[in-house]
């Protein structure tokens, strides 16, 4: 019985969203506003249990109870207070006179993630890709891949005018880029159609048991 009720709720919400195909209407707005609230609440609970609880709440409360557990890493218990205090500093944004204090937390957050991403980006997006493209020019396929990459890079090189050999490479790059964009577009269309089939299957099979 419970399954039928939940499936019906899912089906009604699915139809509410599809009603937007006719025009914007209260049913669509209801589903739209509901998903905003539900997903905000969902991620809030998930983030609390995954990050705030293990990194701040549990270590501090364990110490208060005399437990020896320290929490994360090998730092002392008071280290657990630091992210909590930094997090609370973010809320100074609601008080215009001291709103600038929130920048301290933002500075650590933005700088930390900027630094954290440097090496992986260099490794995965630059070095690995260049290494994978260092192909022996022994087949047409390999030549096309190497020329395509050089052409694409030449197209995005704006420090010189696209004239002469650079212009030739840039024009070749456009050809490869357009084929690549076309392939991506085709893939995106197919993924959306696949989702559409999934929703129609949910309505006709899981809800109405017609197919």
């Amino acid at each position: 019985m419970g399954t039928i009720i939940w499936t019906t709720i899912g089906a009604i919400l699915t139809l509410s969203v599809y009603s937007f195909l006719y025009k914007d209407n209260p049913f669509y707005k209801f589903a739209e506003h509901l998903v905003v609230g539900i997903s905000a609440g969902y991620y809030l609970v998930i983030y609390y249990y995954n990050f705030i609880d293990p990194n701040v709440v549990t270590p501090v409360f364990q110490l208060r109870l005399g437990d020896q557990a320290i929490g994360f890493g090998s730092g002392a218990w008071w280290l657990a207070l630091i992210p909590g205090l930094l997090g609370l500093l973010l809320y100074t944004r609601f008080f215009p006179k001291v709103a600038w204090v929130a920048r301290w937390s933002l500075g650590i957050y933005v700088g930390g993630y900027a630094g954290l991403g440097l090496s992986p980006v260099m490794q995965a997006r630059v070095i690995e890709q260049i290494g994978a493209n260092a192909l022996p020019l022994t087949s047409v396929t390999n030549v096309l891949i190497v020329v395509g990459l050089l052409g694409t890079l030449a197209y995005f090189f704006f420090s010189m005018k696209h004239k002469g050999i650079l212009g030739v490479f840039a024009r070749t790059g456009i050809v490869f880029l357009m084929v690549g964009f076309g392939a991506s577009f085709g893939y995106t269309v197919m993924s959306r159609i696949s989702l559409l089939i999934g929703r129609v299957s949910f309505l006709l099979h899981d809800w109405l048991h017609l197919v």
Partner: protein, 209 residues
């Protein structure tokens, strides 16, 4: 105080997170784990800040008796119900818990349906994009058609070489273009990260003093 301290904190945090990859000493790696925990916690607090702003915005609408205030109640009700179910039910992530059921039967169907709506709108986008007026647009059109046909059974029925052509497009020209874009994006991300760490890029601090 208002600008120098945040910039210094940004520099120190960025420099430490960047160089820790190259120092496998246990002290540095333990410190890295601690700082990573801080960053994740800050992410959670930032999300909570966004949720507080959402609540304030909808309360503002309700207080001002806006025309669509009934939908603000829907958002707040959804938010409060998920938070309540998540915190009151100790095993909230187990299959069959009310929190999990709400996620699977409300959030997932709405999100999946919203994404599938694009299948209809992408058709009109395709009409505009696929008008083969230039060589580039023709290439885009041909590549997209071949890839779409090659991923469904009817493509093989139309011509047996269409699936192979799809695979070739994906493995050769598409790969070359994607690699070029990926390298460009990677270099751009590195440059932006360095600018943030070194204090050249300061947009994250906001416009006021």
């Amino acid at each position: 105080m208002r600008r120098q301290i945040p910039l210094a904190l940004c520099f120190i945090a960025g420099l430490f997170m960047a160089v820790q990859y190259f120092i496998p000493h246990p002290t540095v790696q333990d410190t890295y784990e601690i700082v990573l925990g801080w960053l994740q916690t800050l992410l959670a607090f930032a999300f909570l800040l966004g949720t507080v702003s959402l609540i304030r915005m909808h309360f503002h609408k309700i207080r001002n008796r806006a025309d669509d205030r009934a939908f603000s109640w829907v958002t707040l009700l959804g938010l409060v119900s998920m938070i309540g179910l998540g915190f009151l039910h100790p095993q909230h992530q187990l299959p069959g818990s009310p929190f999990n059921l709400m996620f699977l039967n409300v959030q997932v169907p709405i999100e999946a349906t919203m994404f599938s709506l694009l299948a209809f709108y992408i058709a009109s986008a395709a009409f505009r994009a696929f008008r083969a007026r230039t060589l580039e647009a023709t290439l885009l059109l041909v590549a997209a058609c071949i890839v779409m046909l090659g991923r469904v059974p009817i493509g093989d029925l139309i011509h047996e070489s269409i699936p192979a052509a799809t695979q070739w497009i994906l493995n050769v020209p598409n790969l070359a273009a994607k690699r070029g874009v990926m390298i460009g994006v990677g270099l751009g991300m590195m440059a932006t990260s360095l600018k943030i760490i070194l204090g050249i890029e300061r947009a994250w601090m906001g416009g006021s003093d």
